[in-house]
Amino acid sequence: MATSRLRWLRYGRIALAALSMLMLLAFVCHGVAVGEYWFNAQFGPAAARAWLLLSPAAAGVVLLLLVLTLVFGRVYCSVLCPLGILQDVIGWLTRRRCPAPGNHPRLRYGIAVVTIVLALCGWNLGLRLLDPASRFGGMVATLVAPLHTAIYNRLYPDDMLIVRPLALPTLFILGVLPLLLLTALVLWRRRWFCTTLCPVGTVLGLLAKYTPYPLQLTDACVKCGQCQKICPAGCIDLAEGSLDNERCLRCLKCLDACRFQAVGWGRPAALTANAGTATSQAEVGAPVATADANNVQPAEATGAGDAAAVDAAASSRVDLTRREVLVGAAGLSAMACVGAALLRPGGVLRAGAGAGAIYPPGAGSAARFAALCTGCQLCVRNCRGNVLRALGDGRSGLVHLVFDRGMCEFNCMRCSSICPTGALRPMTKAAKQRCRIGMAQFDPSLCVAVQDGVDCGACAEHCPTGALQMKDDGPGRRIPSLNTDLCIGCGSCEYPCPVRPLRAMRVTPVAIQVQADDPGEYFRRRREQAPLPKPAATGDDGWLL
């Protein structure tokens, strides 16, 4: 009966994981609003946002996740993280017997520290490569969402989802390649990514290690090896009789698998009550042990029979010596300096980042955006104007705008409000409507209104700011005229301009996004100077016709 209770615990966590996966898929593929909560609960983007925007909400999420981890261990990794859940699914689908991941503390801490230091310096490189939520977003946006759109549009032709273009390199870089790599890792060493590469997991692990409610092998353990065989994190060491809570992903497979119910989850005192050796020191044992790991380790190891000591030993075995920490810190600082140098204005990375492309409102500048965007693809998936493109279409290595299928919708500010990392700064609607992301350029030699002398005006018709107007140019001729002070580079002129292959109106990139003049003010002033003529009543009783 105890077995069945533990089994239900595991089923419960699977159900929660399934719910998370469903919500995240529904959000990324279909824009289902509740799903956004799940994405906002992702640790990597929330931490980046908290730092970049000093956002209290994001900081709250981070704090909540930290507390959650401190109490329950890395449950984040088993029920919230989509990449973690995906690895479980891959493992379950392939059911391949493979060795468990080893323990590589130096690699793990190294990656996490580099990620954090660079992020603090303003470069989200680590997150761009390894943040699980962002990489999951990329995979879903390229591999799942297009299929979802195709099927949905076939079923509901009167409520069509936007069909977004997908360049082959995008599909490969954001979708196929990461999925293949992840699958290969799972087939090779189960959830090696989570215990070694993932910076989020490493940070959470450091807290999970000190949870007052660890997962432990109790003295009912007969060392049959069942748990070790199925543990995807490789955190059970039977020889030591230990379970490393820093790497334990809380998949709860071992609870279910152990026929002797020798894996316990709770306060060490309660778990070892049968043996009668539990003491209150046991609970403080772990933190003390880490204070000077190097010295404690041998002493603790000898007392491994004691449950408290097991825990302490397990934790201490993955600790670094003081020297290693110092050397590591020095190395990382050096790397950060190199990174900062590369990133400085005019530096290699900034220069290459995307000259010649238009970036979404809120990006600030090409350089800022290049350093901060983690490529989660939420903005691309949600762009109402269907103008945002992922890297891969040759124009930029970043998310950028192309006006071949639409324009940046004047009333829309979805990208800057949805961006989970803060790479796109949230703005008020008024600020978005004046945010200059590019600058229109008019080529009269291509314009049909200029060349053929017939009405066109597609550009002026669409321009939301009034920057573009059709001006009288001789009898019966109306040609475009551009007021650059009002232009925000939204592409509402480029998109409808009928001239091909090159359009007569084209938006060119700007180095830094600034606020354009306020059209309301501009036109009110003009109306005051020259009021619009009133239509004259011609007929009887003031009729106009």
Binding site: D158, V163, E409, E461, P464, G466, L544
Partner: protein, 311 residues
């Protein structure tokens, strides 16, 4: 249709028919005959209504044209084509008044229409336009159906029209091809490119390829549009009109509240009259003369009889 709606609409139909039969039976026949003759003798009739809500003006105006039953017969498929081109609110007057569209849907259903469909091939992203114009909600509440018009393959069929001068083939919305009755409900506005947009310019939203029209002599293409499918009724909403910075409008000063509405079977005559309402010379809007020359209707003011009504 569920039973309640069915009952409601049958009661409404019965009531409407009874009232009309009593009040206007002779008038209806007289006017139908006149309209038919009108095409031949080069005359047209436009009803102008002013100083009421869009709904009140429509009720007055349609009654003067013989009521909705003169246009919609029981069991027919009706398409109503408002202007929903822009992601703007009703107050910004860039789209047709949603209450007016809803009233037309209601009356068409009351006249026995099997279904009333509403769509526009919008300029801004279509879902935002449908939602923020208020038209989607109003139409659905009135019992009509909003259609999407944003997939070339799913929603459009290729048609050709040899009489057309510039646009000889075009992809036209399937619903228009299938409709028994086509009611064209534009909003009157200034237009940067075509000078004025009203009944004829509204036709751009039933075709797929705007770009072609802009590129190949826009006024001629606008005139060609109506050759593909004559509307059975045109209603020009001029309650609030954009008089500058059209067709989108940029600031509140671009909008004027006129409280007018025009109704006509003749798409050219109604546009000709609309130039007076917005205050332009006929010659400033070249597509009107082009359409008149193509025999689509009457642009000569002396041959248009106007019925003026106060709502």
């Amino acid at each position: 249709m569920d039973r309640r709606n069915f009952l409601k609409s049958s009661v409404a139909t019965a009531a409407a028919t009874a009232v009309l039969a009593e009040l206007t039976s002779t008038q209806v026949h007289a006017q139908e005959a006149k309209a038919e003759a009108g095409a031949g003798d080069g005359r047209a009739e436009v009803v102008a209504v002013r100083n009421g809500s869009a709904v009140a003006m429509f009720r007055k105006g349609i009654a003067a044209l013989g009521g909705m039953t003169a246009f919609v017969k029981p069991g027919q498929k009706v398409v109503v084509k408002p202007n929903i081109g822009w992601d703007r609110t009703p107050e910004q007057a860039a789209n047709t008044n949603p209450e007016l569209v809803a009233e037309i849907v209601r009356q068409a259903l009351a006249a026995g229409a099997a279904q009333v469909q509403v769509f526009d091939h919008t300029c801004n992203e279509w879902k935002s336009c449908y939602r923020n114009s208020g038209i989607e909600a109003a139409v659905v509440a009135a019992g009509g159906k909003m259609l999407s018009a944003h997939d070339e393959k799913l929603h459009y069929v290729e048609k050709s029209c040899p009489q057309a001068i510039s646009m000889k083939t075009a992809k036209i919305h399937q619903a228009i091809v299938d409709a028994d009755v086509f009611i064209n409900v534009p909003v009157l506005k200034h237009h940067g490119g075509a000078k004025m947009t009203a009944a004829m310019k509204n036709f751009l939203g039933i075709f797929w390829d705007r770009s072609f029209m802009h590129k190949n002599n826009l006024p001629q293409c606008i005139a060609d549009c109506a050759l593909y499918r004559r509307p059975d009724l045109n209603v020009v909403d001029a309650y609030r009109i954009v008089v500058a910075n059209g067709p989108r409008g940029k600031v509140a000063e671009d909008i004027r509240e006129l409280r007018y509405q025009l109704l006509s079977r003749d798409i050219v005559a109604i546009d000709a009259m609309a130039t007076k309402v917005i205050g332009y010379e006929l010659a400033q809007v070249p597509y009107i003369a082009l359409a008149a020359n193509a025999g689509l209707g009457v642009a000569d003011f002396s041959r248009i009889s106007v019925t003026r009504l106060e709502a």
